[in-house]
Amino acid sequence: MTTALAHSPAAALDFVPGAPPPATLRADIWRGIAAENPVLVQMLGMCPTMAVTNVLANGIAMGVATTFVLVGSGLFVSLLRKYIAHEVRITSYILIIATFVTLADLLLAASFPEISKALGPFIPLIVANCLLLGRAEAFAAKVGPVRAVADGMGMGIGFTLSLAAMSAIRELLGRGSLLGFDILGPRWEPWVFMVLPAGGFFTLGLLLITAAWIDELRRRRRALEAK
């Protein structure tokens, strides 16, 4: 992790309008997982983060579906960036994103019907996740297809990991199980509130504090090394 982060210059963290600074593919992927994690750092896509993370399987499925849409829309936005006129770019991005969301919804319903039913309207609602439009506008539309796909992968993996962490905590404490398998045994009294909305806010808060704390530790270490 540290070696990969070393490739991404600290300056890349400051948002500059226009094209993103050149970076290695590894840095493009790692950015979404750590330094610019969609949930823990950018705080995008909070709605699905709260809504579907009551059990681990749902969190992972939501993450994978979003990754599919991120990669697919990133690729097409990047490939078509020279043909999409500036005036209609947002409409075009939404069109591309909506297409991939519909595909993800249909494919999920055909392959994992139970999960598809549990996620209900939240798969179609990926289209309204600002993470998608954000990456299309800020990144994919300004770089080549390879970098756009790498960024989509990274952001998707980062999103999936955050959702998986959240839903693992919530399912374990709220139901005593993980992926439906009983872990804590029959003597565990489930903390029902963890699978309810309140538990979502609580868990997200804990994760955000942890992420900010790790970030702070790393910054202090870096400052010490610089001296």
């Binding site: 009551n54 392959s111 029902v192």
Partner: protein, 233 residues
């Protein structure tokens, strides 16, 4: 050709001087071009979605049919076979007139044992629970209103409390043999066949199940009786 145009004014000595204005301000694009971009994009996206929809539809329908069959088997206590009846124009019929509309029609399943004896009917019914609509499949004997069983097909009740209407086996199993209209009570009087014990902490959800069953039996009993009458004639 373009070389002539660019090198025209002497004040622009090199290509470096010519390019910045072009990138600084995007040229006006005609509305037709914008329209064409969106039309082509929309058509391509539509084609792709239709292709994937067509490809996944059989699997999705197969799954829905399998799920329905499992539910019918469960609420009618494993019938040897069953007839699917469609409610069309207020009458139950085995073969509705327009084949295409079949999917949208309300359905009842009439189950039989291996000897051809009628076991009961299974119907689906949906009404509000504690949070959202609760969808049940209910198996009962149409003539007496005696319940065979029920299965929750969809619910969004409170996890750990309201969802006991699906998970609490002692709640679910007590419905077999009870006679509708049912009454929800805290402690059951064993001699009254209409009483059902509600779940502590899930009273509203339990009552919703009872209400849905009562309404369904009330609605389907006369329809099924009319169908029986027409069949035996």
């Amino acid at each position: 050709m373009s070389g002539h145009a660019h090198h025209g004014p002497p004040s622009a000595p090199s290509a470096v001087a010519v390019t910045p204005p072009a990138t600084a301000k995007a040229p006006e694009v005609s509305s037709w071009k914008l329209l064409a971009t969106l039309a082509i994009g929309g058509a391509a996206a539509g084609l792709l979605v239709v292709a994937v929809y067509k490809a996944t539809l059989p699997t999705i329908e197969q799954y829905a049919a399998a799920k329905e069959a499992t539910a019918v088997r469960e609420v009618l206590k494993a019938p040897a076979r069953w007839d699917t009846l469609y409610l069309q124009k207020g009458v139950l019929t085995k073969s509705p007139t327009s084949g295409e509309d079949r999917k949208g029609l309300p359905k009842a399943y009439l189950g039989f044992d291996a000897d051809g004896k009628e076991l009961g009917a299974a119907v689906t019914a949906q009404e509000p629970g504690f949070q959202e609509e609760v969808l049940l499949m209910i198996g009962f004997e149409p003539s007496s209103g005696t319940l065979i069983g029920f299965k929750v097909l969809a619910e969004k009740e409170t996890p750990g409390l309201g969802d006991k209407i699906e998970r609490d086996t002692s709640f679910v199993s007590q419905f077999a043999g009870r006679i509708a209209p049912l009454k929800g009570v805290k402690t059951r009087n064993a001699t009254d066949p209409s009483q059902v014990q509600t779940i502590t902490g899930a009273t509203i959800s339990s009552r919703a199940v009872i209400r849905i069953i009562n309404h369904a039996v009330e609605r389907w009993q006369p329809l099924l009786a009319a169908y029986e009458k027409g069949r035996t004639k």
